[in-house]
Symmetry: C2
Subunit: 494 residues, 2 copies
Amino acid sequence: MVSSKAARNSHGQDSSYFLGWQEYEKNPYHPTNNPSGIIQMGLAENQLSFDQIESWLESNPDVLGLKHDGASVFRELALFQDYHGLPTFKNVIVINFLVKQKENSYYIFISAPSTSHIAFLTSSLHMQALAEFMAELRENKVQFDPSNIVLTAGATSANEILMFCLADPGDAFLVPTPYYPGFDRDLKWRTGAEIVPIHCSSSNNFKITKSALEEACKRAQKKKLRVKGVLVTNPTNPLGTTLTRHELEILVDFICAKRIHLISDEIYSGTCFGIPEFISIAEVIGGSIDDVEDQVHIVYSLSKDLGLPGFRIGAIYSSNKAVISAATKMSSFGLISSQTQYLLAMLLSDKHFTASYISENKRRIKIRHDQLVEGLADVGIPCLESNAGLFCWVDMRHLLDKNTFTGEMELWKKIVYDVGLNVSPGSSCHCTEPGWFRVCFANMSTETLDVAMQRLASFVESGGQGEGSKGSRGLKRLMYWVRQLSLADDRTER
Amino acid sequence: MVSSKAARNSHGQDSSYFLGWQEYEKNPYHPTNNPSGIIQMGLAENQLSFDQIESWLESNPDVLGLKHDGASVFRELALFQDYHGLPTFKNVIVINFLVKQKENSYYIFISAPSTSHIAFLTSSLHMQALAEFMAELRENKVQFDPSNIVLTAGATSANEILMFCLADPGDAFLVPTPYYPGFDRDLKWRTGAEIVPIHCSSSNNFKITKSALEEACKRAQKKKLRVKGVLVTNPTNPLGTTLTRHELEILVDFICAKRIHLISDEIYSGTCFGIPEFISIAEVIGGSIDDVEDQVHIVYSLSKDLGLPGFRIGAIYSSNKAVISAATKMSSFGLISSQTQYLLAMLLSDKHFTASYISENKRRIKIRHDQLVEGLADVGIPCLESNAGLFCWVDMRHLLDKNTFTGEMELWKKIVYDVGLNVSPGSSCHCTEPGWFRVCFANMSTETLDVAMQRLASFVESGGQGEGSKGSRGLKRLMYWVRQLSLADDRTER
């Protein structure tokens, strides 16, 4: 009696990517409470720079307290509703006289003519601050017009909205492999659009080539699918690399020639810690004719660069007025809490904060990345050379018993159950070559990463046999829960 | 080059419902700054009880400050991600030992085995608190199981998700008229489902009857649409009435006989201020066989009862496991900010607060409702007798020049431009009889409502000619902006 979408369950949750999370949740590692548990290396979270945001919040207590110049803005925020795209709300005159820059931060006049103006203002300020933050991440080589931004509840929603705007059911987007496993859900499930993979290979370090694009196009045509665009991640998830100017130019030429769209998901743009520098698609199309700008759409989010996935801050940036208009209306299905918008508008408007955050965050990501790469190198495991992201693309082909995806799954199970590390197998990212794994490094302490490296070293040294059986691990897990329960009982009594 | 959805723009924003908002935004009433502006009576906002929530927040500063027992929970909340429905997350053992009730509120153990457990906990606590709040609004005649709740970014998202779960493109839902204008967008636009109206009329005070249901079904069949369910609002928007037990039983019999779904949108359940009492669909199906429970789904939100539309807190309640599973996965396209979930979990867990809030809020709504009804009666305008909602369904049929929808639009334009009140014409709610208007009363002060009543009295006494021309109003508006600009300049200089 449910819909075919609900019945088909085709959102991809049975992928080993999500199954690994499930195994981790059953038996999560903790240095003292559960030292034999699974270490989560399958989750691209950035836990490296929270202290910076916490310090800022402590210095600016009014922001969490929903106050401004000492007065509460609770009512205004409580009532905030995005009147999805009513033209008068885009009236710059209203914004200009109400928002003024003061030293390095913005402030708001609370006595606007109506509560909805104040609400709009928070949203405008947020868009303005986000546009400037996006430009800053690109070293101000490009500027972003806040009126071309649509705020969304995370990049998950941004990508789906763009698909609803650009593709009809049965239309296809080309996506280079390996790609983020969540795209099967985000791009296809509810929209009815299809993904046709652009096959990239280790032979050229998984670079996007003209011939790979053309070949994917032909495969789509054979399946009678109309190709409406290409979606890339830059920096690339799961590779941890940035697209070169040459790759970006190939992409722009391709979408020009085919008259199709390009979605550039740049949610990791603030994680690029090394050379070559990150080049946004916005820089490449900057000098182009207007027509190309209308075909290019950028997705951004604060989940990775600021480590705030729980706050659900995503955005679409597009110069295409029809897309912005439709996307703004669609954003009513996933608006961002005004309480959270207020926090982010204030945080990102502080230019001293953003400048120091961006550089310090990159420095810390580089240290953690190097720790992982060196740890793996010590036990003879190479990585794809990378300069961005919260993960490495790790080459374990030499550890496979057989060079097949069955072999990859066997190795993955050993790594999860015996070594106790949840990593993501390349097959879950639609990689065409068995033996690659995405390994995350920024969602744990340096000590935990050391433990992970030690475990991997024992595993490799033992010839890939692991150290524990599932039976003994089950017993340990039980002991762990018993210990937790008694701890909890102690706590309730205090 | 965009999708047919984006190109068609069929989300209904060109309705007079939204156009009225636009007119209001161009010239919003303010008692001193713009006393001749338009008064917004087209927006069902509840601004009557903010002081209660503000007092609570002042007494509980840790909640906004993201602290618990003095310690910051910022990191845990920042990392919160809903791992949409991984089975281990539903493990009650984990919840039970971590969440304990203490006096009248819940508290959390922060030292859970992993951050994701804490994140889940916040969400669980929120669902638990929401389930109890929903039961309290129904005087605990029914209980809600928190594991049957899916949190969504507002009711807008909840309704769309349910349509994605229950209907395929081309399937239809029957909806009684008059209905909330936003449903054309929420139910149809992206899902491809259709709405077939159940025609209700003033002859029986717009009650739902068996014959009206059957007649709608036949119309759907004629259009070759497969009927997948009925969607009702209870309390009803725009009528401000509650469905009777008899109507609810007719609905349940109907969906049983046809083996279809029933969505009961109960977002105004906390606004029922008078007799007859609100009866939730949950009470009617409570004693039924399990099969019916699987066909009934409730939508709830805190936007109306708590007046928090900006915080985007919606929910789906269903006993149908397939629906909950699919809806949970779909909720990743519109998750609620964890910062806001934390606030609401804490607020709603305080039973002293919820009990006093609910009764005081109803008392205030009743006073405002009576003020509107009496004001209208004084100038000879009747309303449909109502006991709930933030609006009245106002009968202005006697003020129509001609008894057509063209006549209704002419009257509406006079009311908006000449009288300066933005109300919503019945035609925007798909009412089949011209001359009805939805008039909101809870989004303004009692003084502003008085001004609105005085303006309407002048209009009726002048024989429906109004007092001003568009020209003079345009001049006034210009003067208003000039004044605002100079005020703003003053402020920047302080």
